[in-house]
């Protein structure tokens, strides 16, 4: 019988994730550090009121680093190095269902992401000083970050499964990480300052809307969610196609 996702498998994935330094540094230390540095650089001369607004805007942008670093970069590296060693194959030979295994990985990473959010939130509230959000806006941000995390993990999983090499997976996920950061305004260039072609590409990424628009309704107000939802659908569909292709490529076929 195929082994599906279960409690033991989720705990195993959590232990595995905890043993990898990359998500700890890039997913927890790095966004907090970036917030602190950019806040001092950008908002150093501003009045306290403006500085709070700058910090809030920075927080919304830097929050995006966590799902990208933990799920796209960290997971991509961990999983591809496991593929090179033959660990996922060994688990499959023990009867683990690839979909069940991936579900456990997603759950474990979402737990880790929650811990990263908690630490990030505490740091923002205690050290940075940010605007208090409207409950609906806060929930919207959290839901978006979780959903993004799942999509990034699926993309990283599919890439690693397709290329089967740590070095190539690392190069692709690192490339995507920086491209996403550049396109969605995380590197200091606003999306509307980019060339038209890149603006169009940026419009297909949900991170663009979180980075630039969420500050407008952070403390309440109305917002047209349609382009944002469409970008989620696009990225979600893309990750789904990649995943299905990678699962098909690695399918085991015995007998006739």
């Amino acid at each position: 019988m195929k082994k599906k996702c279960n409690r033991n498998l989720i705990i195993y994935e959590l232990r595995n994730l905890n043993g990898n330094i990359m998500p700890h540094f890039f997913g927890i230390v790095f966004p907090n550090l970036m917030c602190l540095l950019l806040s001092r650089t950008i908002g150093g001369q501003a009045s306290p009121e403006v500085q709070t607004q700058i910090n809030t805007s920075l927080m919304l942008t830097m929050a995006l680093i966590m799902p990208m670093a933990i799920m796209l970069l960290g997971y991509g590296c961990l999983y591809s190095s496991e593929i090179e060693k033959g660990i996922p194959l060994r688990m499959r030979l023990f009867g683990f269902d690839p979909v069940g295994e991936m579900t456990a990985k997603i759950i474990a990473h979402l737990i880790f992401l929650t811990l990263a959010f908690l630490l990030f939130g505490l740091f923002q509230a205690l050290v940075m000083g940010v605007q208090r959000p409207a409950p609906a806006s806060f929930l919207c941000l959290m839901a978006s970050l979780y959903l993004l995390g799942i999509i990034f993990l699926i993309i990283a999983h599919a890439i690693a499964n397709i290329v089967q090499k740590f070095s190539v997976t690392f190069a692709i996920t690192m490339f995507l990480y920086f491209i996403f950061m550049i396109l969605t305004g995380m590197m200091g260039i606003r999306t509307d300052q980019l060339p038209t072609v890149l603006q169009k590409i940026a419009a297909t990424l949900p991170m663009t809307y979180i980075s630039s628009d969420f500050i407008d309704f952070w403390q309440g107000g109305s917002y047209n969610f349609m382009p944002f939802l469409q970008s989620f659908l696009f990225l979600g569909a893309l990750s789904g196609i990649l995943l299905l292709y990678s699962l098909y490529r690695n399918k085991r076929r015995v007998g006739s």
């Binding site: 023990f94 085991r252 015995v254």
Partner: protein, 290 residues
């Protein structure tokens, strides 16, 4: 019938790695030993049966991949946690609550290793770790692919003894790939000889021995005196340092035994030597192929 292979072919690029033209059947409870030199297609056969490599032909079985357990040549695990956690995850159990698992851990003296990480285990401990989990799967068909390769002589011998003891009086179906003839002598009751991706011979150990070696073989050191002494007897192919004399019947055996004893020559008598059988089966197969 547990599994039947028909016209199985596996290609790696333009190179044919395996080509099985005659049907091969495996019954429940059989212990198949697979032998052949490097590149003969042993691991490819295991991978094809496990559905890990694309193949042409038919493998007729009701087994699904989950009904098969395998100890591959190389088995890797995460080194981010103690092996105890990996074991409990793979077997979806708790060691302290699972009597059978505790018995196996004790049987393989693996208890002290449970708190170690996989990369801190020795070669023999790594093999034992996978073997324990493979055994606990209770699979309908279990593969052991060069389970003792890379181990020192003593560890290899102890591990083989453990495996033999464990499977004695059990009806598990096994396919054991090995380069070590003594391992197959202990673990297998049927032998599949592969040569350059083709089946050189397949059958019960005794039948194959009878076909390729005769009733009994006498094995002695290859010296000029011994070669002269045995010149009139049917000589089989053997490793360079040995002479293997085939005895088709009791009369021939009596004659050889008297001769060797009379000249004070040390010898070994065998009616199941897999090495001599393998060499001669392969030789005959190659001659037939020409």
């Amino acid at each position: 019938m547990l599994l039947t292979i028909h016209q199985l072919q596996v290609n790696y690029g333009h190179q044919r790695a395996l080509s099985i033209t005659r049907p091969i059947s495996i019954d429940r409870g059989e212990r198949i030993g697979v032998i052949g030199s490097n590149g003969a297609g042993k691991t490819t056969l295991v991978k094809a049966l496990l559905g890990l490599v694309p193949c042409e032909g038919r493998i007729v079985t009701e087994l699904t991949p989950e009904n098969m357990a395998v100890h591959m040549q190389s088995n890797a695990y995460a080194s981010t946690m103690a092996v105890q956690h990996i074991m409990e995850t793979v077997l979806n159990t708790r060691i302290r609550k699972n009597q059978r698992l505790r018995e196996l851990i004790d049987f393989f003296d693996f208890g002290p290793c449970l708190s170690k990480r996989f990369n801190a285990l020795s070669g023999g401990q790594k093999q034992k770790f996978t073997i324990i989990m493979v055994m606990l799967q209770n699979a309908a068909l279990t593969f052991y692919d060069e389970v003792t390769s890379g181990l020192d002589f003593e560890t290899r011998q102890r591990l083989t003894e453990k495996l033999t003891d464990w499977y004695r009086d059990k009806d598990d179906t096994l396919m054991v790939v090995s380069h070590y003839y003594e391992e197959l002598e202990q673990l297998a009751d049927k032998i599949l000889i592969l040569d350059q991706g083709q089946v050189a011979a397949y059958g019960k150990k005794e039948e194959l021995f009878d076909t390729f070696c005769g009733r009994v073989v006498y094995i002695l050191e290859n010296t000029p005196e011994n070669r002269r002494l045995c010149a009139d007897f049917p000589i089989l192919k053997s490793p360079d340092h040995l002479i293997a004399i085939s005895c088709p019947d009791q009369a021939a055996e009596d004659k050889i035994m008297r001769l060797l004893a009379g000249h004070n020559v040390n010898f070994k008598r065998s009616n199941s030597d897999i090495e001599i059988m393998y060499i001669n089966a392969r030789e005959r197969f190659r001659l037939e192929q020409r």
